[in-house]
Symmetry: C2
Subunit: 246 residues, 2 copies
Protein backbone atom coordinates (compact mmCIF):
# COMPACT_ATOMS: atom_id res chain seq x y z
CA UNK A 1 0.00 0.00 0.00
CA UNK A 2 1.61 3.16 -1.28
CA UNK A 3 0.21 5.49 1.32
CA UNK A 4 1.67 3.51 4.15
CA UNK A 5 5.10 3.43 2.53
CA UNK A 6 4.92 7.18 2.19
CA UNK A 7 3.94 7.74 5.77
CA UNK A 8 6.72 5.39 6.83
CA UNK A 9 9.10 7.60 4.92
CA UNK A 10 7.67 10.63 6.67
CA UNK A 11 8.01 9.00 10.04
CA UNK A 12 11.60 8.20 9.27
CA UNK A 13 12.51 11.39 7.49
CA UNK A 14 10.67 14.17 9.26
CA UNK A 15 9.43 12.91 12.61
CA UNK A 16 12.79 13.16 14.31
CA UNK A 17 14.32 15.73 11.99
CA UNK A 18 16.13 18.26 14.13
CA UNK A 19 15.64 20.87 11.43
CA UNK A 20 11.87 20.44 11.18
CA UNK A 21 10.96 23.14 13.70
CA UNK A 22 12.79 26.05 12.18
CA UNK A 23 13.36 24.99 8.61
CA UNK A 24 10.99 25.99 5.83
CA UNK A 25 9.16 22.73 6.52
CA UNK A 26 7.62 24.35 9.57
CA UNK A 27 4.93 25.90 7.39
CA UNK A 28 3.70 22.48 6.29
CA UNK A 29 1.21 20.67 8.50
CA UNK A 30 2.25 17.28 9.77
CA UNK A 31 -0.61 15.79 7.77
CA UNK A 32 0.81 17.18 4.55
CA UNK A 33 4.36 16.06 5.17
CA UNK A 34 4.04 13.07 2.84
CA UNK A 35 3.61 15.50 -0.06
CA UNK A 36 6.79 17.25 1.01
CA UNK A 37 8.66 14.00 1.38
CA UNK A 38 7.49 12.87 -2.04
CA UNK A 39 9.21 15.89 -3.57
CA UNK A 40 12.44 15.49 -1.66
CA UNK A 41 15.31 13.06 -1.53
CA UNK A 42 17.55 12.40 1.41
CA UNK A 43 21.19 12.97 0.59
CA UNK A 44 24.31 12.13 2.57
CA UNK A 45 27.51 14.05 2.04
CA UNK A 46 30.81 13.00 3.55
CA UNK A 47 32.99 15.43 5.46
CA UNK A 48 35.00 17.64 3.14
CA UNK A 49 32.86 16.95 0.07
CA UNK A 50 31.36 19.79 -1.93
CA UNK A 51 27.79 19.33 -3.10
CA UNK A 52 27.09 22.76 -4.56
CA UNK A 53 29.54 24.22 -7.03
CA UNK A 54 29.65 27.94 -7.68
CA UNK A 55 28.64 28.68 -11.25
CA UNK A 56 26.92 25.35 -11.81
CA UNK A 57 23.33 25.47 -13.11
CA UNK A 58 21.05 25.73 -10.09
CA UNK A 59 18.41 23.03 -10.22
CA UNK A 60 18.11 22.15 -6.56
CA UNK A 61 17.49 23.47 -3.09
CA UNK A 62 18.62 21.78 0.08
CA UNK A 63 17.50 21.68 3.68
CA UNK A 64 20.35 20.79 5.96
CA UNK A 65 19.04 18.25 8.42
CA UNK A 66 22.18 17.06 10.11
CA UNK A 67 25.71 18.38 10.37
CA UNK A 68 27.36 21.61 9.31
CA UNK A 69 28.20 23.12 5.98
CA UNK A 70 30.36 26.00 4.80
CA UNK A 71 29.32 28.26 1.96
CA UNK A 72 32.07 29.99 0.05
CA UNK A 73 33.47 31.58 -3.07
CA UNK A 74 36.88 31.22 -4.61
CA UNK A 75 39.03 33.52 -6.68
CA UNK A 76 41.03 31.87 -9.47
CA UNK A 77 44.25 31.98 -7.43
CA UNK A 78 42.66 30.18 -4.50
CA UNK A 79 41.74 33.08 -2.26
CA UNK A 80 38.59 32.06 -0.50
CA UNK A 81 35.74 33.96 1.12
CA UNK A 82 33.42 31.97 3.32
CA UNK A 83 29.97 33.55 3.20
CA UNK A 84 28.60 31.59 6.11
CA UNK A 85 28.21 28.36 7.99
CA UNK A 86 24.91 26.55 7.62
CA UNK A 87 23.39 24.71 10.55
CA UNK A 88 20.73 22.16 10.96
CA UNK A 89 17.45 23.40 9.46
CA UNK A 90 19.06 25.94 7.17
CA UNK A 91 17.84 26.33 3.63
CA UNK A 92 20.45 26.34 0.87
CA UNK A 93 20.24 27.49 -2.70
CA UNK A 94 18.43 30.82 -2.64
CA UNK A 95 21.58 32.69 -3.68
CA UNK A 96 21.25 31.66 -7.29
CA UNK A 97 19.69 33.11 -10.39
CA UNK A 98 20.27 30.41 -12.98
CA UNK A 99 23.59 29.41 -11.52
CA UNK A 100 24.65 28.98 -7.93
CA UNK A 101 26.42 32.05 -6.60
CA UNK A 102 28.39 29.99 -4.07
CA UNK A 103 29.87 26.59 -3.35
CA UNK A 104 28.85 24.44 -0.40
CA UNK A 105 31.04 21.89 1.36
CA UNK A 106 30.31 19.58 4.28
CA UNK A 107 32.34 20.42 7.39
CA UNK A 108 31.43 17.04 8.88
CA UNK A 109 29.31 14.16 7.63
CA UNK A 110 26.05 15.73 6.62
CA UNK A 111 22.47 14.81 5.83
CA UNK A 112 20.31 16.94 3.58
CA UNK A 113 16.87 16.94 2.04
CA UNK A 114 17.19 17.80 -1.62
CA UNK A 115 14.34 19.48 -3.52
CA UNK A 116 14.39 20.12 -7.22
CA UNK A 117 13.36 23.58 -8.30
CA UNK A 118 10.41 22.06 -10.10
CA UNK A 119 9.50 20.15 -6.95
CA UNK A 120 9.52 23.35 -4.92
CA UNK A 121 7.46 24.90 -7.70
CA UNK A 122 4.81 22.21 -7.25
CA UNK A 123 4.92 22.61 -3.49
CA UNK A 124 4.50 26.38 -3.57
CA UNK A 125 1.57 25.90 -5.94
CA UNK A 126 -0.02 23.61 -3.42
CA UNK A 127 1.05 25.53 -0.30
CA UNK A 128 1.12 29.22 -1.22
CA UNK A 129 2.43 30.23 2.20
CA UNK A 130 5.55 28.18 1.47
CA UNK A 131 6.43 30.73 -1.19
CA UNK A 132 6.06 33.46 1.41
CA UNK A 133 8.18 31.43 3.78
CA UNK A 134 10.92 31.23 1.15
CA UNK A 135 10.86 34.97 0.66
CA UNK A 136 11.11 35.32 4.40
CA UNK A 137 14.10 33.04 4.43
CA UNK A 138 15.71 35.14 1.72
CA UNK A 139 15.02 38.33 3.69
CA UNK A 140 16.64 36.78 6.73
CA UNK A 141 19.71 35.89 4.67
CA UNK A 142 19.85 39.36 3.17
CA UNK A 143 19.81 40.84 6.66
CA UNK A 144 22.76 38.70 7.64
CA UNK A 145 24.59 39.61 4.43
CA UNK A 146 24.14 43.29 5.15
CA UNK A 147 25.92 42.90 8.48
CA UNK A 148 28.67 40.88 6.84
CA UNK A 149 29.37 43.66 4.38
CA UNK A 150 29.99 46.04 7.27
CA UNK A 151 32.22 43.49 8.93
CA UNK A 152 34.33 42.83 5.85
CA UNK A 153 34.35 46.36 4.55
CA UNK A 154 34.78 48.42 7.66
CA UNK A 155 35.64 46.49 10.81
CA UNK A 156 39.10 45.92 12.28
CA UNK A 157 40.47 42.44 12.96
CA UNK A 158 39.65 42.90 16.63
CA UNK A 159 36.07 43.89 15.85
CA UNK A 160 35.66 41.05 13.37
CA UNK A 161 36.75 38.41 15.83
CA UNK A 162 34.60 39.85 18.60
CA UNK A 163 31.63 39.83 16.23
CA UNK A 164 32.38 36.24 15.35
CA UNK A 165 32.60 35.09 18.96
CA UNK A 166 29.35 36.82 19.91
CA UNK A 167 27.68 35.39 16.83
CA UNK A 168 28.82 31.90 17.77
CA UNK A 169 27.48 32.36 21.28
CA UNK A 170 23.95 33.02 20.06
CA UNK A 171 21.52 30.16 19.51
CA UNK A 172 21.37 29.09 15.83
CA UNK A 173 18.27 30.86 14.56
CA UNK A 174 18.37 34.09 16.56
CA UNK A 175 20.75 35.85 14.25
CA UNK A 176 20.44 39.32 15.65
CA UNK A 177 21.19 40.56 19.14
CA UNK A 178 17.70 39.49 20.10
CA UNK A 179 18.54 38.04 23.47
CA UNK A 180 20.67 40.79 24.82
CA UNK A 181 21.40 39.94 28.38
CA UNK A 182 22.71 42.76 30.46
CA UNK A 183 24.69 40.66 32.90
CA UNK A 184 28.26 39.62 32.32
CA UNK A 185 28.03 35.92 32.91
CA UNK A 186 30.53 33.70 31.06
CA UNK A 187 29.32 31.87 27.98
CA UNK A 188 30.94 28.65 26.82
CA UNK A 189 31.10 28.05 23.09
CA UNK A 190 32.59 25.41 20.81
CA UNK A 191 34.21 26.51 17.61
CA UNK A 192 33.09 23.94 15.09
CA UNK A 193 35.44 25.00 12.32
CA UNK A 194 39.17 25.28 11.74
CA UNK A 195 41.19 28.46 12.16
CA UNK A 196 41.53 28.57 8.41
CA UNK A 197 37.77 28.59 8.04
CA UNK A 198 37.43 31.31 10.65
CA UNK A 199 40.03 33.39 8.83
CA UNK A 200 38.34 32.91 5.47
CA UNK A 201 35.01 33.79 7.04
CA UNK A 202 36.32 37.01 8.56
CA UNK A 203 38.47 38.06 5.64
CA UNK A 204 41.76 37.75 7.48
CA UNK A 205 44.68 35.32 7.90
CA UNK A 206 44.94 32.44 10.37
CA UNK A 207 47.87 34.20 12.01
CA UNK A 208 45.81 37.28 12.74
CA UNK A 209 42.95 35.14 14.05
CA UNK A 210 45.34 33.35 16.38
CA UNK A 211 47.03 36.52 17.53
CA UNK A 212 43.77 38.36 18.12
CA UNK A 213 42.50 35.44 20.20
CA UNK A 214 45.75 35.77 22.11
CA UNK A 215 45.08 39.45 22.75
CA UNK A 216 41.55 38.68 24.00
CA UNK A 217 43.02 36.09 26.33
CA UNK A 218 45.51 38.59 27.72
CA UNK A 219 42.71 41.09 28.22
CA UNK A 220 40.73 38.48 30.16
CA UNK A 221 37.89 38.73 27.66
CA UNK A 222 38.06 35.05 26.89
CA UNK A 223 39.57 31.79 28.03
CA UNK A 224 40.49 29.01 25.64
CA UNK A 225 40.43 25.31 26.52
CA UNK A 226 42.36 23.34 23.94
CA UNK A 227 41.67 24.70 20.47
CA UNK A 228 37.91 24.66 20.00
CA UNK A 229 36.46 25.40 23.43
CA UNK A 230 36.24 29.11 24.22
CA UNK A 231 34.68 30.80 27.21
CA UNK A 232 33.51 34.37 26.75
CA UNK A 233 34.29 35.93 30.11
CA UNK A 234 32.83 39.33 29.28
CA UNK A 235 30.18 38.96 26.56
CA UNK A 236 28.88 42.52 26.92
CA UNK A 237 32.36 43.90 26.59
CA UNK A 238 32.93 41.73 23.52
CA UNK A 239 29.66 42.87 22.06
CA UNK A 240 30.74 46.47 22.51
CA UNK A 241 33.99 45.73 20.69
CA UNK A 242 32.05 43.96 17.96
CA UNK A 243 29.86 47.03 17.37
CA UNK A 244 32.90 49.26 17.12
CA UNK A 245 33.00 50.62 20.66
CA UNK A 246 36.18 48.86 21.62
Amino acid sequence: MVTSITSDAVRERCAHCPGRSHSICNVIDDDDLPILVAESARVQVAKGRAFIEEGAPAHEFYVLTEGRVKLFNLLPDGRRQIAGFADCGDFLGLAAVDHYAFSAEAICDVTLCRFSHSGIERLTQRFPHLEHRLRDEASRELTIMQRRLVLLGRKTARERLATFLIEQSLPPCCTASDLLEKEEKPIKIKLLMSRTDIADYLGMTIETVSRTLGVFKKEKLITVQGVTAVTLLAPQRLRAIAEGNG
Copy 2:
Protein backbone atom coordinates in the same frame (compact mmCIF):
# COMPACT_ATOMS: atom_id res chain seq x y z
CA MET B 1 -16.68 57.83 -11.47
CA VAL B 2 -14.16 56.08 -9.29
CA THR B 3 -12.85 53.71 -11.93
CA SER B 4 -11.86 56.48 -14.25
CA ILE B 5 -9.99 58.33 -11.51
CA THR B 6 -8.06 55.14 -10.81
CA SER B 7 -7.17 54.54 -14.40
CA ASP B 8 -6.08 58.15 -14.66
CA ALA B 9 -3.76 57.50 -11.78
CA VAL B 10 -2.45 54.44 -13.55
CA ARG B 11 -1.94 56.34 -16.74
CA GLU B 12 -0.01 58.96 -14.85
CA ARG B 13 1.85 56.67 -12.50
CA CYS B 14 2.71 53.55 -14.48
CA ALA B 15 2.28 54.27 -18.16
CA HIS B 16 5.51 56.19 -18.51
CA CYS B 17 7.27 54.68 -15.51
CA PRO B 18 10.83 53.90 -16.56
CA GLY B 19 10.96 51.17 -13.93
CA ARG B 20 7.85 49.36 -15.12
CA SER B 21 9.61 46.95 -17.45
CA HIS B 22 12.10 45.42 -15.07
CA SER B 23 10.63 46.19 -11.65
CA ILE B 24 8.44 43.69 -9.82
CA CYS B 25 5.49 45.37 -11.49
CA ASN B 26 6.35 43.56 -14.69
CA VAL B 27 4.45 40.49 -13.46
CA ILE B 28 1.22 42.47 -13.27
CA ASP B 29 -0.86 42.78 -16.41
CA ASP B 30 -1.58 46.29 -17.60
CA ASP B 31 -5.25 45.65 -16.95
CA ASP B 32 -4.56 44.93 -13.30
CA LEU B 33 -2.35 47.94 -12.71
CA PRO B 34 -5.12 49.92 -11.03
CA ILE B 35 -5.09 47.36 -8.21
CA LEU B 36 -1.35 47.87 -7.86
CA VAL B 37 -1.68 51.62 -7.91
CA ALA B 38 -4.41 51.48 -5.30
CA GLU B 39 -1.97 49.81 -2.92
CA SER B 40 0.88 52.19 -3.58
CA ALA B 41 1.68 55.82 -2.96
CA ARG B 42 4.01 58.00 -4.96
CA VAL B 43 6.74 59.48 -2.80
CA GLN B 44 9.28 62.17 -3.63
CA VAL B 45 12.57 62.34 -1.76
CA ALA B 46 14.97 65.24 -2.09
CA LYS B 47 18.65 64.73 -2.80
CA GLY B 48 20.56 63.80 0.32
CA ARG B 49 17.48 62.80 2.31
CA ALA B 50 17.26 59.38 3.95
CA PHE B 51 13.92 57.59 3.69
CA ILE B 52 14.82 54.23 5.20
CA GLU B 53 16.57 54.13 8.54
CA GLU B 54 18.56 51.08 9.60
CA GLY B 55 16.94 49.51 12.63
CA ALA B 56 13.57 51.18 12.15
CA PRO B 57 10.51 48.89 12.07
CA ALA B 58 10.06 47.72 8.50
CA HIS B 59 6.51 48.42 7.36
CA GLU B 60 7.11 49.40 3.76
CA PHE B 61 8.64 48.39 0.47
CA TYR B 62 9.65 50.78 -2.27
CA VAL B 63 10.05 50.63 -5.99
CA LEU B 64 12.48 53.26 -7.19
CA THR B 65 10.93 54.88 -10.23
CA GLU B 66 13.21 57.84 -10.80
CA GLY B 67 16.66 58.78 -9.62
CA ARG B 68 19.34 56.97 -7.69
CA VAL B 69 19.62 55.81 -4.12
CA LYS B 70 22.46 54.54 -1.93
CA LEU B 71 21.94 51.77 0.60
CA PHE B 72 24.28 51.71 3.56
CA ASN B 73 25.09 50.83 7.13
CA LEU B 74 26.87 52.88 9.74
CA LEU B 75 29.02 51.98 12.69
CA PRO B 76 28.57 54.13 15.80
CA ASP B 77 31.74 56.10 15.09
CA GLY B 78 30.60 57.01 11.59
CA ARG B 79 32.37 54.39 9.54
CA ARG B 80 30.09 53.64 6.65
CA GLN B 81 29.63 50.67 4.35
CA ILE B 82 27.58 51.23 1.24
CA ALA B 83 25.87 47.98 0.30
CA GLY B 84 24.79 49.14 -3.10
CA PHE B 85 23.33 51.77 -5.36
CA ALA B 86 19.73 51.34 -6.41
CA ASP B 87 18.61 52.33 -9.88
CA CYS B 88 15.33 52.95 -11.52
CA GLY B 89 13.06 49.90 -11.18
CA ASP B 90 14.88 48.48 -8.17
CA PHE B 91 12.92 47.05 -5.29
CA LEU B 92 13.88 48.19 -1.80
CA GLY B 93 13.09 46.71 1.57
CA LEU B 94 13.67 42.98 1.26
CA ALA B 95 16.69 43.11 3.56
CA ALA B 96 14.57 43.34 6.67
CA VAL B 97 13.11 40.91 9.14
CA ASP B 98 11.08 43.15 11.44
CA HIS B 99 13.51 46.01 11.14
CA TYR B 100 15.36 47.38 8.16
CA ALA B 101 18.87 46.03 7.92
CA PHE B 102 20.07 49.13 6.05
CA SER B 103 19.50 52.83 5.51
CA ALA B 104 18.57 54.35 2.17
CA GLU B 105 19.38 57.87 1.03
CA ALA B 106 18.59 59.69 -2.20
CA ILE B 107 21.68 60.53 -4.26
CA CYS B 108 19.63 62.95 -6.34
CA ASP B 109 15.96 63.93 -6.29
CA VAL B 110 14.07 60.70 -6.34
CA THR B 111 10.61 59.33 -6.98
CA LEU B 112 9.41 56.09 -5.44
CA CYS B 113 6.32 53.95 -5.25
CA ARG B 114 5.73 53.01 -1.67
CA PHE B 115 3.88 49.81 -0.74
CA SER B 116 2.94 48.88 2.80
CA HIS B 117 3.77 45.32 3.84
CA SER B 118 0.07 44.69 4.25
CA GLY B 119 -0.57 46.09 0.79
CA ILE B 120 1.99 43.74 -0.70
CA GLU B 121 0.37 40.97 1.31
CA ARG B 122 -2.95 41.72 -0.36
CA LEU B 123 -1.31 41.91 -3.76
CA THR B 124 0.48 38.58 -3.40
CA GLN B 125 -2.80 37.04 -2.33
CA ARG B 126 -4.38 38.32 -5.50
CA PHE B 127 -1.38 37.70 -7.75
CA PRO B 128 0.43 34.62 -6.46
CA HIS B 129 3.20 34.93 -9.03
CA LEU B 130 4.09 38.28 -7.48
CA GLU B 131 5.25 36.40 -4.41
CA HIS B 132 7.44 34.27 -6.62
CA ARG B 133 8.71 37.41 -8.31
CA LEU B 134 9.69 38.82 -4.90
CA ARG B 135 11.59 35.68 -4.05
CA ASP B 136 13.31 35.95 -7.36
CA GLU B 137 14.24 39.54 -6.60
CA ALA B 138 15.67 38.41 -3.26
CA SER B 139 17.67 35.66 -4.97
CA ARG B 140 19.08 38.19 -7.38
CA GLU B 141 20.12 40.41 -4.48
CA LEU B 142 21.67 37.48 -2.64
CA THR B 143 23.72 36.67 -5.71
CA ILE B 144 25.04 40.21 -5.80
CA MET B 145 25.76 40.12 -2.08
CA GLN B 146 27.78 36.95 -2.48
CA ARG B 147 30.07 38.68 -4.95
CA ARG B 148 30.36 41.69 -2.69
CA LEU B 149 31.59 39.52 0.15
CA VAL B 150 34.43 38.27 -2.00
CA LEU B 151 35.24 41.81 -3.04
CA LEU B 152 35.31 43.18 0.49
CA GLY B 153 36.87 40.16 2.13
CA ARG B 154 39.49 39.09 -0.36
CA LYS B 155 40.14 41.52 -3.20
CA THR B 156 42.92 44.10 -3.37
CA ALA B 157 42.21 47.80 -3.91
CA ARG B 158 43.18 47.41 -7.55
CA GLU B 159 40.82 44.48 -8.00
CA ARG B 160 38.00 46.27 -6.20
CA LEU B 161 38.20 49.32 -8.37
CA ALA B 162 38.42 47.27 -11.56
CA THR B 163 35.35 45.33 -10.43
CA PHE B 164 33.54 48.57 -9.77
CA LEU B 165 34.36 50.06 -13.16
CA ILE B 166 33.27 46.94 -15.00
CA GLU B 167 30.10 46.80 -12.92
CA GLN B 168 29.31 50.40 -13.78
CA SER B 169 29.86 49.68 -17.44
CA LEU B 170 27.17 47.01 -17.52
CA PRO B 171 23.55 47.90 -18.22
CA PRO B 172 21.52 48.26 -14.97
CA CYS B 173 19.78 44.90 -14.70
CA CYS B 174 22.39 42.56 -16.16
CA THR B 175 24.32 42.16 -12.96
CA ALA B 176 26.56 39.34 -14.00
CA SER B 177 29.07 39.19 -16.80
CA ASP B 178 26.24 38.19 -19.10
CA LEU B 179 27.24 40.26 -22.07
CA LEU B 180 30.85 39.39 -22.25
CA GLU B 181 32.22 40.89 -25.38
CA LYS B 182 35.54 39.62 -26.49
CA GLU B 183 36.69 42.73 -28.28
CA GLU B 184 38.53 45.53 -26.54
CA LYS B 185 36.47 48.49 -27.64
CA PRO B 186 36.39 51.47 -25.26
CA ILE B 187 33.35 51.91 -23.04
CA LYS B 188 32.31 55.32 -21.75
CA ILE B 189 30.75 55.47 -18.32
CA LYS B 190 29.54 58.19 -15.99
CA LEU B 191 30.21 57.81 -12.30
CA LEU B 192 27.02 59.00 -10.68
CA MET B 193 28.38 59.13 -7.15
CA SER B 194 31.12 60.94 -5.25
CA ARG B 195 34.57 59.52 -4.55
CA THR B 196 33.52 59.18 -0.93
CA ASP B 197 30.59 57.01 -1.95
CA ILE B 198 32.83 54.90 -4.17
CA ALA B 199 35.27 54.46 -1.30
CA ASP B 200 32.54 53.50 1.15
CA TYR B 201 31.12 51.09 -1.41
CA LEU B 202 34.47 49.39 -1.98
CA GLY B 203 35.62 49.39 1.64
CA MET B 204 38.55 51.70 1.08
CA THR B 205 39.48 55.39 1.44
CA ILE B 206 38.94 58.19 -1.07
CA GLU B 207 42.70 58.60 -1.35
CA THR B 208 43.17 55.00 -2.38
CA VAL B 209 40.30 55.28 -4.87
CA SER B 210 41.90 58.34 -6.38
CA ARG B 211 45.37 56.87 -6.46
CA THR B 212 44.20 53.61 -7.97
CA LEU B 213 42.37 55.50 -10.69
CA GLY B 214 45.65 57.30 -11.25
CA VAL B 215 47.46 54.00 -11.65
CA PHE B 216 44.85 52.78 -14.16
CA LYS B 217 45.32 56.02 -16.09
CA LYS B 218 49.06 55.56 -16.18
CA GLU B 219 48.60 51.99 -17.37
CA LYS B 220 46.34 53.23 -20.20
CA LEU B 221 43.50 51.13 -18.88
CA ILE B 222 41.23 54.14 -18.54
CA THR B 223 40.92 57.78 -19.43
CA VAL B 224 39.17 60.29 -17.21
CA GLN B 225 37.35 63.36 -18.47
CA GLY B 226 36.76 65.75 -15.61
CA VAL B 227 35.75 63.83 -12.50
CA THR B 228 32.78 61.70 -13.41
CA ALA B 229 33.35 60.67 -17.02
CA VAL B 230 35.55 57.62 -17.40
CA THR B 231 36.44 55.71 -20.53
CA LEU B 232 37.43 52.10 -20.12
CA LEU B 233 40.09 51.67 -22.76
CA ALA B 234 40.64 47.98 -22.12
CA PRO B 235 37.50 46.45 -20.62
CA GLN B 236 38.69 42.88 -21.00
CA ARG B 237 41.95 43.67 -19.29
CA LEU B 238 40.02 45.40 -16.49
CA ARG B 239 37.71 42.43 -16.19
CA ALA B 240 40.70 40.16 -15.78
CA ILE B 241 42.05 42.38 -13.02
CA ALA B 242 38.63 42.40 -11.39
CA GLU B 243 38.54 38.60 -11.28
CA GLY B 244 41.96 38.46 -9.70
CA ASN B 245 44.08 37.84 -12.78
CA GLY B 246 45.80 41.19 -12.67
